[in-house]
């Protein structure tokens, strides 16, 4: 466990550096425990870390770090299995041919590989409603695009590294676009305003033409 300052009113507690479901489960549990403290303003779980914003008039980096070390040694409660979302995708994205070429796989195999796993929602963040999903099958691993697109349409289903994701809003993006879905990820008039929560599970399936 490494704890670093993020200025005078926040810190980053790193539980590990691997993309790992167990680490993510611990991070989510630690964030939930920290949120209950009065001196903590907000605690956000990352893949394998927790970013804690605290009230520097009520606590210090040192005393909060000590409390985090104590909490982190506790065995986290058995996580409830996250809700399962089934997401229909039309695999007609602008990058699917290029991905197939670069991976030397037929297009049908790309779809088969992408729809095979039940992905975990590691983290909701970046932009409203965006969820980092993983792990992506190794066979589909590719670095991000050299030149990010200035605008990616909402609903684009994309991959990069060992991750997959869905663009909830039209934003710039450097991931490879495999397809699109009509499912709305960002629900501004609901609370919470997003479909996925950290710890949820996601299964993609190929929707008809």
């Amino acid at each position: 466990l490494r704890i670093h300052p993020l200025g005078d009113a926040a810190l980053l507690a790193e539980l590990g550096t691997r993309l790992d479901t167990a680490l993510n489960t611990r991070a989510i549990a630690l964030a939930a425990a920290l949120k209950k403290r009065r001196d903590v303003r907000q605690a956000i779980a990352g893949y394998a870390s927790v970013t804690v914003q605290f009230d520097p008039d009520q606590t210090s980096h040192q005393s909060l770090a000590a409390a985090i070390r104590r909490l982190a040694t506790k065995r986290p409660p058995m996580p409830e299995p996250g809700r399962l979302h089934r997401i229909p995708v039309r695999y007609d994205g602008p990058d699917i041919e290029e991905v197939a070429e670069r991976l030397k796989l037929p297009r049908e195999r790309i779809v088969e590989l992408h729809t095979r796993p039940i992905y975990r929602v590691f983290l909701v963040g970046f932009v409203p409603g965006w969820a980092y999903l993983g792990p992506l099958p190794e066979e589909l691993e590719l670095p991000r695009r050299q030149v990010p697109r200035t605008q990616v349409p909402a609903g684009s289903v994309a991959i990069a590294g060992r991750q997959s994701g869905i663009y909830p809003l039209p934003t710039p993006g450097g991931w490879h676009l495999l397809g699109r879905t009509s499912v709305k990820l960002f629900l501004p008039d609901s609370d919470p305003p997003c479909l996925f929560r950290a710890g949820d599970r996601v299964k993609f399936f190929a929707a008809g033409e």
């Binding site: 926040a10 893949y47 909701v124 932009v127 909830p168 501004p188 919470p192």
Partner: protein, 310 residues
């Protein structure tokens, strides 16, 4: 009577802001809120509000407002040369506007963001626990957008304290906006910088580019070389100095993305964020390495200044 201001001209980019929506971060929604929390708080306290009431954040230029009913207002933050009915009026001072009075602004004399508080707070759309405008989601504030000509601004309620006009915050108690030194605590990924980059970060000037908005400022200066494996995405905070692949840092501000995977080599301390909020494109900044103790002293000084208005 509910005080009402009518917007004759909105200014370049004027939005309703309060202290943001930190509870929405776990949904990926930016926390948002006033960029310069000190000026926002001072403007509110000057008109007898709580610091959490909504104000108008005016970016780079001021609006032209007409009072339709008598009301108490205060402007704080950047100096946009405020006038009432054509006569210059001081900033950081509460003032009573009569029905028909015109509040206008001249050229930008110092800073980037000015706050206008109205006794009772500014009424606006509440979204996820905050009145702050989120233009990306088009929610909060005035229908999720900047002010437009013809908008009406109403008071949300009665002020916490009876209205006092000509309450003033002395210059000696305010942050030094022109000074452009951002006190910063190194970490979490400062060890990824090579020694030369580290001495550049805490020794050389960085210029704010045109790409500077409520999400963050792209800076330009000596390249910061980071090494090491790709990071897994983690939660970000305002003031974090993120270094993407090109080596030109980005200073994250109020509407920053909630998570990211670029190294963060330092974070500007909370008491320097009001100074950061007032930077204009082209301004040069220096990052000064700070300790937690120094950050606390600076924070307490600003807190004590606000106390004088309570």
């Amino acid at each position: 009577v509910t005080a009402v201001l009518n917007v004759q001209e909105p200014g370049l980019f004027t939005t309703v802001q309060d202290l943001g929506r930190p509870n929405a971060i776990s949904a990926g929604v930016q926390s948002g809120g006033a960029m310069d929390r000190f000026a926002h708080a001072a403007a509110n306290l000057l008109v007898g509000n709580d610091v959490g009431h909504a104000t108008l954040e005016c970016t780079f230029s001021g609006p032209h407002l007409v009072a339709e009913h008598p009301c108490l207002v205060a402007v704080a933050g950047a100096d946009f040369d405020p006038h009432v009915n054509g006569t210059p009026v001081p900033g950081w001072t509460s003032m009573l506007l009569g029905a028909g009075d015109q509040l206008t602004f001249g050229p930008n004399r110092k800073g980037a963001r000015m706050y206008i508080a109205l006794a009772g707070g500014i009424e606006a759309d509440r979204w996820l626990g905050s009145l702050s405008t989120n233009v990306m989601a088009a929610r909060g504030g005035k229908q999720g957008r900047p002010l437009e000509r013809g908008d009406n601004i109403a008071a949300a309620g009665a002020p916490r304290k009876p209205s006092i006009s000509r309450l003033h915050l002395a210059e000696s108690l305010r942050p030094v906006y022109g000074d452009h030194i951002l006190h910063s605590i190194p970490g979490p990924h400062v060890k990824r910088l090579n020694p030369e980059s580290r001495s550049n970060l805490f020794g050389m000037a960085y210029r704010v580019t045109k790409d500077a908005n409520r999400m963050g400022y792209r800076l330009e200066g000596p390249r910061l070389d980071t090494s090491g494996e790709e990071l897994l995405s983690f939660g970000l905070v305002p003031g974090a100095l993120q270094v993407p692949h090109g080596g030109q840092p980005i200073l994250l501000m109020a509407d920053h993305q909630t998570a990211g995977g670029y190294p963060v080599v330092a974070t500007v301390v909370s008491a320097s964020m009001p100074v950061a909020a007032q930077l204009l494109p082209g301004d040069e900044v220096l990052f000064a390495e700070a300790t937690a103790e120094r950050a606390q002293q600076m924070r307490m000084a600003l807190g004590a200044a606000l106390e004088t208005l309570r």
